[in-house]
Symmetry: C2
Subunit: 360 residues, 2 copies
Amino acid sequence: MSTNFAPLKNDTFLRALLRQPTDYTPLWLMRQAGRYLPEYRATRAQAGSFMGLATNPDFATEVTLQPLERYKLDAAILFSDILTVPDAMGLGLSFAEGEGPRFARPLRDEQAVRALRAPDLGSLQYVFDAVTQIRKTLDGRVPLIGFSGSPWTLACYMVEGRGSDDFRTVKSMLYDRPDLMHHILQINAAAVAAYLNAQIDAGAQAVMIFDTWGGALADGVYQAFSLSYMRQVISQLKREHNGERIPCIVFTKGGGLWLDEIADSGADAVGLDWTVNLGKARAQVGHKVALQGNLDPNVLFAKPEQIHAEVERVLQSFGKPEAGSGHVFNLGHGISQFTPPESVSALVDAVHTLSRRMRS
Amino acid sequence: MSTNFAPLKNDTFLRALLRQPTDYTPLWLMRQAGRYLPEYRATRAQAGSFMGLATNPDFATEVTLQPLERYKLDAAILFSDILTVPDAMGLGLSFAEGEGPRFARPLRDEQAVRALRAPDLGSLQYVFDAVTQIRKTLDGRVPLIGFSGSPWTLACYMVEGRGSDDFRTVKSMLYDRPDLMHHILQINAAAVAAYLNAQIDAGAQAVMIFDTWGGALADGVYQAFSLSYMRQVISQLKREHNGERIPCIVFTKGGGLWLDEIADSGADAVGLDWTVNLGKARAQVGHKVALQGNLDPNVLFAKPEQIHAEVERVLQSFGKPEAGSGHVFNLGHGISQFTPPESVSALVDAVHTLSRRMRS
């Protein structure tokens, strides 16, 4: 099924992840297919809902490609949601208008936790179908990234039942019943590994693990309840498929203090948010991993000259790329729905122009 | 006015801040006078509103002392709000029930920014009266901490007009019109220094600067827009009053990556949140500053045995106190309103018992 894809025309992103020389610094944006684009809002209106978009491979393909029509981005990322996996576990995902995601059946007691099972991958076939269709439609233009939430980040939603600003419910369980939390994380880790491997089989050319809420954990607790399960996922990933190397990126938002340990997780690249000094981070990880990041998405509310200046600051903080190091430009978090689309043009242009100049 | 206070019976907290030997690790809790205490809720109901509490020195004294009646805490902290200063600048503070603070007149354009003036300290007399009355009522039991929000954290609320999860408005101004942002911060820094000095004159025995939102800034931007203005405040603080040394604590939540620079700010002690490894932090700062922190407040939702174990982990991470180092135990953020009051008993007992044992 995933054979017979067109050869890749722009492999800059994959090369940077594998710390091979590139002519310029490749970039893509977390949540690049999203509400800041009028064409996205139009397709979403047609689909009726967020899950209507995500579960229909035609719509998912359409919105995944929309930002590539506007901007010279160096990668596409599957349009989906990190909560498809717990949804397939039977927790009952819904998106209320104007609010975030919600689960109808969160894991609130021992009985619910003990009843949790890894999802039947068949119920996630719509995701793998979307991956294959997007890859075909891309026709080798840029690589396609598959993704999943981290075991801990999924657990946050599965226990809280929704977003949280203090993670009181999930952390209460973690501190009071660490055995139950480990039980959930064990199941999540197996599910995430299987889910990512199925995306790779379907055509994903790189995979990323989003640990959106790892940074909410205490030192020591992060290592035991988030990082160790990501390590477990990474160790089970297919690192090669049809003769091609499949790089893996791991991103713990707010995880800058744990960079040494994250760089030892087995991932090929580490995502960084804007609080991290890229130059220091590069010196710290050496030639172990590539780095991805790390512009504050709020820079995109400024004038083009300021965007240009901030991009330059990020590129110079990383410094001139050399053999053995790799930098993929990105935001330090998903792009805001309120971003003016023309700011993204200024961003893409600045990254490509300035990074070519730095190499010459 | 601030002379003739009773001599201090328990100076453990002040000694630890000044890195002098203590018999045990002193502790207090951010937001220790608050909604988790039924007696606080009763007084607040009497006062009618949060600002009704804060602006009445009798009520402020009553609630400040409530946690000390229950627990052997080693410091009291003035009951007030970080937004009293921008309120006194005329921005119109209110607290809507069930929501956070709001300003009626946020700083949204150049005209509003240029019209901003330092507050008349006379309009904050209720704060200084509360400080003096609390200090008198404490009768030397434990030291009294005064506090203020940091210039940047105040600016976040002043520009956003309320809490925010992405700081889009204030960061848009920061990136698009850094000149306006610096103008606000300059006025805030002068106001915060004057406000803290007036609290010291009124009887505060230590002061703390809460930089709640510094951790939302990008590397480089934090240094220029938050830390440099805190440094300016600290350089203007009275470090001695009536022959007594007044220590200063600075706390940037999420600022662990910038510890080296924060430790060079001129403060006597640095507050840390739970993402920081205390042992590493101690090695990093050497004998430059004391450290305050850093238990995850969510630990207080666990059983007493687990609270005990997590307290031990924090104390052992800091290690055995030696001459020249100082540790004040605290949470890494304000105590949750949902905390069972008996958990705080377990916490206080664990910190005092275990830390005495570590020293023997």
